[in-house]
């Protein structure tokens, strides 16, 4: 691959794999992805036009939802194809280099990180679980017009109270669900709840979580999610995946050890060395 007026878009880094990518696979900007091998790693790359992917035009494009959607889907298409033949380490959307040599330099600089992450994620997939709370029903509830101002206020108080109750129950269910699923996963991440306008989905998104699960345990995990679906009224559980481990490319942040200034509990009696 030579750079001919094009930039290098990098989708993922993998360990070398034997299988071929689907012949008709196209990536971002319509070009077929290829493999760029460097030492013990392979970068999956394609050529993208400088006119769209250089810093300035890209900045503009990223605010265009249609462009963003098409690019994200093309990126995902390549990652999806990779997951059928290996466990890819996906890169963030729009990771672009001037040329192959830039990609190689990056691979060399990050080699140890990549190998560690690939080991950690090998054979794992990501499952997305979202919990929605139905919008309160009483919008249409009051059968008649309140007879008086006092009636109106009373009805309103009751509505507010019912909403608070429903919300509290939903938060509790979200907490329990997350805890239960985390116990069956190697790792988990909480994404911010989704905006209903962007998702076009009814109800309020309370939990938007990702779970890292070995492929071999996935069926069990999916069944567990499925069983929770009918547990709570006015709530909806949605499962997505399996995804490449997008949400787990960074290792979990270890809980901070006790601060050095506070000589807390004497380390467990027998921390032998």
């Amino acid at each position: 691959m030579t750079a001919q007026g094009g930039l290098r878009y990098v989708y993922a880094v993998c360990r070398p794999f034997a299988a071929a990518l689907q012949a008709q696979l196209t990536g971002v900007a319509g070009a077929p992805p290829g493999l760029l091998r460097h030492r013990g790693l392979v970068a999956v790359v394609s050529t993208v036009p400088e006119g769209d992917f250089a810093a300035e035009p890209l900045r503009g494009h990223l605010e265009d939802l249609d462009w963003l959607a098409a690019t994200a889907r093309a990126h995902q298409g390549v990652i999806d194809a990779l997951t059928t033949v290996t466990t890819p380490l996906p890169l963030r959307l729009a990771t672009v280099f001037r040329d192959d040599s830039g990609v190689r330099t990056m691979m060399e600089a990050r080699e140890a990180d990549f190998l560690r992450a690939l080991d950690r994620l090998d054979g794992r997939v990501e499952w997305g679980v979202k919990l929605y709370v139905d919008p309160p029903e009483q919008a249409s509830a009051p059968a008649g017009r309140p007879a008086s101002g006092r009636d109106y206020l009373r009805q309103r108080r009751m509505r507010t109270h019912a909403q608070e109750e429903q919300w509290r129950a939903a938060e509790e269910f979200a907490r329990i669900l997350h805890q239960r699923l985390s116990e069956r996963a190697e790792d988990s991440r909480l994404h911010p709840p989704q905006n209903a306008m962007l998702s076009g989905v009814s109800g309020q998104n309370l939990l938007n979580a990702a779970y890292l699960v070995p492929r071999a345990d996935s069926e069990e995990f999916v069944e567990l999610v499925d069983r929770t679906k009918d547990e709570a009224p006015h709530m909806r559980v949605e499962l997505t995946g399996p995804w490449a481990a997008y949400s787990f490319t960074e290792p979990a942040v270890e809980p901070m050890p006790a601060p050095a200034t506070e000589p807390a509990q004497p380390a467990e009696a027998g921390e032998q060395r």
Binding site: R73, L239, Y246
Partner: protein, 62 residues
Amino acid sequence: MTVVERREVALVDLLDRLLAGGVVITGDITLRIADVDLVRIDLNALISSVNAQVPAPWGEPT
């Protein structure tokens, strides 16, 4: 038990992962457009421009 297999991935689910997940490469060797901040800022701008047009569907939970 039925497992709903969704082939059409929702864009928001994709963006949760592609704009907030994935390995972030930074450094002089890149064009600096892979930088996390750029993408985050742009997504935030996108979301806030959508939000500005639409009030929250539900009042504050507390």
